[in-house]
C-alpha cells in the first residue's frame, strides 16, 4: 500500500510540475505499479478503460478527417460574418462556435482550429485578439461540459457511471446556457475598451470568403453524412446496446474508407501522447484502488460529510479548485474510483456526485491558464504570435466567471438532483 501511494503521489507530482511530460510520468508510474507488484499485468490491463480509449481514438479520427475538408474553418468564418463587423457580435459568434465545437469534438482540437482564425481576423481588422482568445478558452470548457464526448472528464465519468450520452445533454445544457450568457455579458463589459474596430476596417469582414475554405465539396458531404450517423449512434447507443467506443471507431474508420484516405496519413496525427497518458493514469489510479486506499479515502469522505448534499458540494467545489490548479484528468480518474467506492457502500444514490464531479472538473478548469489543456494551448499559441494573455490578467476575468459558474451549478444541483 505504501508503495502504491508513493508511486501514485510521485507520478502525480511529476505530472503537476510539468518537469516530465505527463504522458511519460503516467506511463512510467503505471508500469512501476506492475513492477513493484501492486498489480499484475493482467489486472493492470483490466483497469484500462478501453471504452474511453476507443472513444478518444474514434473521435480523433473523425475530427482529423473533417478538418481536412476545411469545414470547421468554413463554419467559423461564416458565423463571424453574421456579426457584420460588430465586435460584440464577433465575440458572441466565436464564443458560440467554440462552445458548440467543443461539445461535439474535443476542446484541444476546437481551440487549435479557432485560435489561428481568431488571430487572422484580429490582424485583418486591426484589433486586439485577447478578448476573443480569452472568451474561446472559457467557452471551450463551458461547451465541453455539455456532452459526454466534449471534455475528457465527462468521457471518463460517462463510461464509469453508465450515464447515457443524452443524459449529459439534458442535465448539463440548461445550466450551461445560463452560465454562457452571463459570461458573455461579463466579457463584453470587461473588454469594452478593446472591442472597437476602426471605422475603415468594419467592412473588411464582408471580404472574408469562407467558400475558399472548402477544399473538396464531395468529400465534405460524405463526411457530414457519416458524422451525423455517428452522432445519431451516440444518442441512441443505449437502445442498441452498443458502447460509445464501438460507434466512434466505426464512424472513424468508415470515414477513412469512404474518403479513400490513406490510413497512415490520419493515424500518424492521432494524439498518441494523450492516449498513453490515459492508459498510464488508469493503471495508476487502478493501483491505488487495488490496494484499498481508495476505499479508505471514500469511507473517510462519507464520515466527514455526513450527507449526500454536503458531499456533493464538497465534490463540486473540491473538483473545481483542484481542476483550476492541476490537470483535471488525473483528478477525475481518481475521483471516479472514490465515487464508485461510495456507490458500493450502498448508502447513497451517487448520481448527484457524478454531476458535481462533471460540472466541477470541467468548469473548474476555466479559472487559471493552466487549468485545462485547451487553456495552455491558446495561451502559448498567442505568445508564439506575439500576443500575451498573461497569467494574472487571465485570472482577473476567469476567476469571477468560474466562481459564478460553480455557484450557479451548486444551486442547480440542489434544485435538480438533491
Amino acid at each position: 500500500m505504501f508503495f502504491a501511494a508513493s508511486i501514485f503521489l510521485i507520478s502525480y507530482a511529476l505530472i503537476m510540475s510539468e518537469k516530465v511530460p505527463h504522458t511519460i510520468a503516467a506511463m512510467v508510474g503505471g508500469i512501476l505499479m506492475v513492477i513493484f507488484g501492486v498489480l499484475d499485468q493482467d489486472k493492470a490491463i483490466h483497469y484500462i478503460d478501453f471504452d474511453t480509449i476507443g472513444l478518444l481514438c474514434g473521435m480523433m479520427i473523425i475530427v482529423l478527417v473533417l478538418k481536412k475538408t476545411g469545414l470547421f474553418q468554413y463554419l467559423a468564418i461564416k458565423s463571424v460574418k453574421l456579426s457584420k463587423g460588430n465586435p460584440t457580435w464577433i465575440l458572441v459568434s466565436l464564443a458560440v462556435f467554440t462552445a458548440v465545437m467543443s461539445a461535439l469534438l474535443d476542446n484541444v482540437t476546437t481551440v487549435l482550429i479557432v485560435a489561428p482564425i481568431t488571430l487572422a481576423i484580429a490582424d485583418t481588422l486591426s484589433i486586439s485578439p485577447i478578448p476573443f482568445l480569452v472568451s474561446e478558452i472559457l467557452f471551450s470548457n463551458i461547451g465541453g461540459t455539455a456532452t459526454l464526448i466534449g471534455d475528457p472528464p465527462n468521457i471518463l465519468i460517462g463510461n464509469s457511471s453508465h450515464l447515457s450520452f443524452m443524459s449529459f445533454i439534458t442535465h448539463n445544457l440548461p445550466i450551461l446556457l445560463v452560465i454562457g450568457v452571463l459570461t458573455l455579458i461579463f466579457l463584453r463589459f470587461y473588454y469594452r475598451k478593446q472591442l472597437t474596430i476602426p471605422v475603415d476596417k468594419e467592412k473588411l469582414i464582408e471580404g472574408f470568403d469562407e467558400s475558399k475554405s472548402i477544399k473538396n465539396y464531395k468529400h465534405l458531404i460524405i463526411c457530414l453524412i457519416v458524422v451525423l450517423l455517428t452522432f445519431t449512434g451516440f444518442i441512441l447507443h443505449s437502445r442498441f446496446d452498443l458502447k460509445l467506443a464501438t460507434i466512434a471507431l466505426f464512424g472513424g474508420f468508415t470515414l477513412l474508407m469512404i474518403t479513400k484516405t490513406h490510413p497512415e496519413e490520419i493515424l500518424k496525427d492521432i494524439e498518441w501522447g494523450t492516449v498513453f497518458f490515459f492508459v498510464g493514469l488508469f493503471v495508476l489510479a487502478g493501483g491505488l484502488e487495488a490496494t484499498g486506499l481508495i476505499e479508505i479515502v471514500a469511507k473517510k469522505m462519507v464520515l466527514a460529510t455526513n450527507s449526500i448534499k454536503t458531499m456533493s458540494f464538497a465534490v463540486l467545489w473540491g473538483s473545481a479548485i483542484a481542476s483550476s490548479i492541476v490537470d483535471n484528468i488525473p483528478f477525475t480518474a481518481t475521483m471516479i474510483h472514490v465515487i464508485n467506492s461510495i456507490d458500493k457502500m450502498g448508502i447513497y444514490n451517487v448520481q448527484p456526485l457524478w454531476w458535481s464531479l462533471s460540472l466541477g472538473a470541467c468548469l473548474g478548469g476555466n479559472a487559471t491558464i493552466v487549468g485545462a489543456a485547451a487553456n495552455v494551448i491558446v495561451s502559448s499559441y498567442a505568445k508564439a504570435n506575439n500576443q500575451n494573455i498573461g497569467f494574472l490578467n487571465y485570472m482577473k476575468v476567469a476567476v469571477p466567471v468560474t466562481i459564478v459558474a460553480i455557484s450557479l451549478s451548486m444551486g442547480y444541483i440542489l434544485l435538480v438532483d438533491l
Binding site: L112, L119, A120, S213
Partner: protein, 148 residues
C-alpha cells in the same frame, strides 16, 4: 563530378549588420535565393535565405490555418515587409545552414540541397568563402557535360 567543376565563383555576400532592405535589393539584383554572410575579416558566418525573410512576414497563425484563402486583400504581406525592412540580417538568420567543400561530389551536393530544402549552398575552404552552388548549376551539369 565534384563541386569544384560546377560551382559559381561569385563571393557576393552581406554582413550581419546589413539591413533587410539592402539585402532584398541585392536578392533582386543577383537573382540568387540565398546570400552568404561574411564578417569584417572576410570569414564566412552563415547564410540568409529568401525564405527567412518571407517567414518573418508570414504570421505564425497562417501556417495553422487549413487555408488562408478566405482572408481579404489588405496588403498584409507588404505591410509586414515594410516593418521588417529596417531589421538586421543577424535578427533573421537561422543556425545550421549546410555548406559544401570543393572536393564534395555533386551527388552529395544535390542530396544536401534536397534534405535541407535549399536552393543555394555556399562553397567553403575552412572559413573562406569560395563561391556558391545553386540548383540551377547542378542540373545544368547535363548541358555542360553534353557540350564537352
Amino acid at each position: 563530378m565534384i563541386v569544384k567543376d560546377v560551382y559559381l565563383r561569385d563571393v557576393t555576400s552581406v554582413s550581419l549588420n546589413s539591413n533587410i532592405k539592402s539585402v532584398i535589393k541585392l536578392f533582386n539584383l543577383t537573382r540568387y535565393y540565398a546570400l552568404p554572410i561574411t564578417n569584417v575579416d572576410n570569414e564566412y558566418i552563415g547564410c540568409i535565405d529568401i525564405s527567412d525573410i518571407i517567414d518573418s512576414c508570414v504570421p505564425k497563425y497562417m501556417k495553422d490555418l487549413s487555408s488562408s484563402a478566405f482572408l481579404p486583400d489588405v496588403d498584409m504581406f507588404y505591410n509586414r515587409l515594410n516593418n521588417v525592412k529596417d531589421m538586421l540580417v543577424k535578427d533573421l538568420i537561422k543556425d545550421d545552414y549546410p555548406t559544401l567543400r570543393e572536393e564534395d561530389s555533386v551527388s552529395y551536393a544535390a542530396d544536401l540541397l534536397e534534405k535541407f530544402n535549399r536552393r543555394t549552398l555556399p562553397v567553403l575552404d575552412g572559413k573562406k568563402l569560395l563561391g556558391i552552388l545553386t540548383r540551377l548549376e547542378i542540373i545544368s551539369v547535363l548541358i555542360k557535360k553534353e557540350s564537352i
